[in-house]
Symmetry: C2
Subunit: 349 residues, 2 copies
């Protein structure tokens, strides 16, 4: 066994801790802790001394230790169906932006449009003790819902207007938005309007849009609905193209197609170009979501803009207030923020 001289630098395997910094700077750990946060009362000379020690040691604060003690993890959990080619990436971005500078960090999870996977994720997220949790949609498994209700933290459901919200909501009615789109087409003179969407109800928002389509058609006295269900949600561009082919085969008289998303609308549009079907003369095409592709494609695609980024941003703002309320032990009341949507008429319909 080697005898080590007392006050000498010893090789440390593990990264430096706050005590190491404190010893080096000749202060207590509490003073180091204060120096590393702002707002604490500390002499500037002491702070400088500590910062020097921090730099020399390459010390990095260990938040997991800090949050155990302070009971603030600085996490916010957010569950989205997917981030690939989807509106939710914009929402996640808006949420992240809104939380900039608040010291909160977003923990993202993908549910793949499955509420069973959502349930699993809710549980694993709660183990991280987030200070709030954001979910997409208002449909959950029974146990998922219970977990949310008992989590003891603010819960925000987004992208929908659930009939019985867990607590807070930031969203809009997908059904109403689809209705508005149907009315727009009707106003433009289209009567034989079809709908293209995925096969299952896995994508709740897609199902709501189809519902809105059916409702609006009924309200306008157009009782012949023409619905093509094709592909597992989220329905891709390519699937949108195939669905259009089927729509035309099944109802050759169809005058317009509403697609569950802009991506499938784009696929449908390209299929038309490929087959030399004039859009909107022979068939009009409309999408949903106002993806960049819709404004940029030729012809540009008529769609419903839903302010994805804004949903995220406003979720973040609500969440900050809600967390503030929890911290001050004055929980805020459940709020429902309804975001705008807007039919954007372009060349395709």
């Amino acid at each position: 066994m080697v005898v080590r001289p007392a006050a000498t630098t010893v090789v440390k395997a593990s990264p430096p801790t706050m005590s190491d910094v404190a010893r080096k700077a000749g202060v207590s750990t509490m003073t180091v802790s204060r120096a590393l946060r702002d707002g604490a009362s500390i002499a500037s000379s002491t702070r400088e001394k500590i910062m020097r020690a921090v730099d020399e040691l390459g010390y990095v604060l260990d938040q997991s230790a800090g949050s155990l003690s302070s009971k603030r993890t600085g996490f916010v959990a957010a569950l989205v169906p997917s981030l690939n080619n989807s509106n939710f990436a914009d929402t996640a971005r808006g949420l992240t932006d809104a939380l900039q500078g608040s010291g909160l960090q977003v923990l993202l999870g993908y549910t793949d449009y499955l509420i069973e996977k959502e349930e699993e994720l809710i549980e694993s997220m709660l183990r991280r003790r987030p200070e709030a949790i954001v979910v997409t949609g208002g449909r959950h498994t029974a146990r998922g819902r219970k977990l949310l209700e008992n989590a003891g933290i603010p819960v925000i459901e987004t992208w929908d207007l659930p009939p019985r919200p867990v607590r807070h909501v930031v969203g809009f009615s997908n059904a109403e938005a689809a209705e508005a789109l149907v009315r727009h087409l009707h106003q433009k003179g289209y009567r034989k309007i079809g709908f293209i969407g995925g096969t299952s109800n896995r994508d709740t928002r897609g199902a709501d849009r189809r519902l809105g389509y059916e409702r609006a058609m009924g309200a306008l006295g157009l009782k012949d609905t023409r619905i093509i269900s094709f592909g597992t949600p989220p329905i891709s561009m390519k699937q949108g193209g195939e669905a259009l082919t089927r729509l035309l085969e099944q109802w050759p008289d169809v005058e317009a197609a509403i697609c569950v998303s802009d991506l499938s609308a784009f696929g449908a549009l390209m299929e038309c170009r490929r087959r030399n079907i004039a859009v909107p003369e022979r068939i009009a095409i409309a999408g949903f979501g106002d993806f960049e592709i819709s404004s940029c494609s030729y012809p540009a695609i008529t769609t419903v803009s839903v302010n994805c980024y804004d949903i995220g941003r406003r979720t973040g703002e609500l969440l900050l207030r809600a967390i503030e309320g929890e911290r001050a032990r004055k929980p805020i009341a459940g709020e429902t923020v309804i975001t705008d949507y807007e039919v954007i008429a372009r060349e395709s319909a």
Copy 2:
């Protein structure tokens, strides 16, 4: 002061802890801890008893406390330039998928293509004590690089082949991939080939692709390079369209345009359709990244497929081995995994 009867249920403000479960099940906290992990030796009758107590109390394990004690946070930090409309969303997805079932969770951060923001994020991520960190690209600020080097955890740089890697690498040479694309166009008979990209070097991979374009042109004896730099990276569809207009104005004789990404290529293509410029007869267009849009648009866009998802998946696999190595105190040697790319010839070039 109210005297509370001893063994009676008392209203608890804070969520139940492991001790509460232990008391209820009549065991020690250690036994509860073991019951909640798999692989530990525990009698099934005891486990059931504990699980019942867990359910009744609605107990959720507190991982932040656990990781302080076990020194395993179960986090992996991943920094990507952006997730919106980008290849990186696929990479993030591949990474997440590869980590499924390993108990590791991805902590995502957006750098906005800025190495200064990356530096900031590296620091805030390290505070969470991730078990590994994944970054995009090989260019970092001096301090960012130092933080990575001293982090004491596996570091993986992706999407590039840095000349002097920090440790592990999973990527490909963007320059070479662009060269391959130039050669493809050359082989098809195109000689007056232009390049469309963003203005700054902010997007390192974009800059590399331009470099590859220049190198390949030189090697083929085509010394007249035609480069349009327009828009802050990442360059959008719309900007791709505008850039194409400029390209045609500045060099009316241009025969083909290579775009820094498929998104700008698509914008360029749509601009052509809008202006009735035949693609590829009058001008050929090629992109980069093999986004879904390229295979689906009409005409379909010639591009370089770079296996984005695979980069993420293989990063995840390497990372699991690296973390295993750290845990067993046998760090693995630095590895460089070179992923494939492939020129995909379609209709536009």
